[in-house]
Symmetry: D2
Amino acid sequence: MTPMMTIEQLAAFFVEAFPGIATERHAGIVEIAPGRVRLRLEPDDASLRPGGIVSGPTQMGLADRAAYAAILAHIGPVAMAVTSNLNMSFLRAVEYAPVMADAELIKLGRRLATVDVRLWQDDPGRVLAQATVTYAIPG
Amino acid sequence: MTPMMTIEQLAAFFVEAFPGIATERHAGIVEIAPGRVRLRLEPDDASLRPGGIVSGPTQMGLADRAAYAAILAHIGPVAMAVTSNLNMSFLRAVEYAPVMADAELIKLGRRLATVDVRLWQDDPGRVLAQATVTYAIPG
Amino acid sequence: MTPMMTIEQLAAFFVEAFPGIATERHAGIVEIAPGRVRLRLEPDDASLRPGGIVSGPTQMGLADRAAYAAILAHIGPVAMAVTSNLNMSFLRAVEYAPVMADAELIKLGRRLATVDVRLWQDDPGRVLAQATVTYAIPG
Amino acid sequence: MTPMMTIEQLAAFFVEAFPGIATERHAGIVEIAPGRVRLRLEPDDASLRPGGIVSGPTQMGLADRAAYAAILAHIGPVAMAVTSNLNMSFLRAVEYAPVMADAELIKLGRRLATVDVRLWQDDPGRVLAQATVTYAIPG
């Protein structure tokens, strides 16, 4: 599991592939390592939900993006990979502050890739949400 | 399972509870019936993903919102209900056009509510994505 | 979605395909209808868990079998179809008594099939557990 | 996250709590460590499915048991903890040979505990199936 893309290449891919999202609103790619990627999201107003916390859909979007980043980093910029299943457990409230997402490839097959994603804020060991995300990779 | 809120009351609640989202970007509430709610989302640029289809996070956000609407319609405006688990299967591509979400309460308990949500566009019987969403309801 | 197998054919298939399971311990196939199958399981001692209720693994096995039955009933006896994902929400205790499983095909594709399964005992509307099961169908 | 039970105590609990399962058919508890438990299952005839591989329900039962073991090892023998959600991705065929299950506590709350479980045979890094299991702990 050797990465094939640099942080700069992957960031440029996301900006180009999702023209409807302002560049500064993309989650930042903090690290790419064998089998792993770390992203960092700065929440904005649209992420807020009652209670002053970060909404579920914002967390799901981040987890999905982290899984996509982990896969593309290892197979190259295959834009047409699509999510086939996402399961997410919301464990603790996410404060209105930057959120980290650690994505780990569990299996990278030719057709399907499955990724474990964990969200955290202050301490990687205090997991705020866990997602298992499966992507279908076009043949 | 008798609804306690009208479409107008629920729509007004969402606008007030999520001030960071422009009013016209909220999913429309099409119908409230015993044990069920139907929402309709008009996708915007931020919903697009490569291939010209509606992104996974947009679909997840819609499913989460539909589940929340189904619960609140039946217990009243308890803003602090939070998603505890969401599992979503993406079955077919969602075209860049309005998306419907049918939410059905499977169990409405005092502490937990579980909702089945199905997304479709032209035909309710041709399901594009299915989600099972569990909310925790504060005591 | 027209069924291709009768109850008798499907029951005979299960007995032959799973020789390690005594015939009388297979879940009974109660009904096959377009897009749907109903199974009935008589729990045995190995199904018991503390509290005198039916164990989670027993419920998961039943849901998985009901999904498999729904698929095979509509595509014929493709033994090598395998579960690729199962998500199950356990909503209420299952008493130590016969359990019904209603399986509904949500999508029957060439490669993947997704099935909604609901367990109940006295009343089909009082769902005890809900599962979404995806099978991979060999090409 | 300090374990409160030894392997011997936990094994004895399982035999007593599940009298319908023969002692030698329980998954063996190989290791208890802070936040983690490892189990080992010797499949039997009832675990076989077409293709000579270990069935999905057998894998789910093992994952559920591993999660339960991880929780009890850290909170003591609370028999009435019950599974509230299980999501499992089946990634590779499981050969008809002993199967290992590594369970890691992601969150151990007062009311809910969430556990990541990974099944493997020869190499812990070659994951055959991944499960996220949530248990409800009685108050």
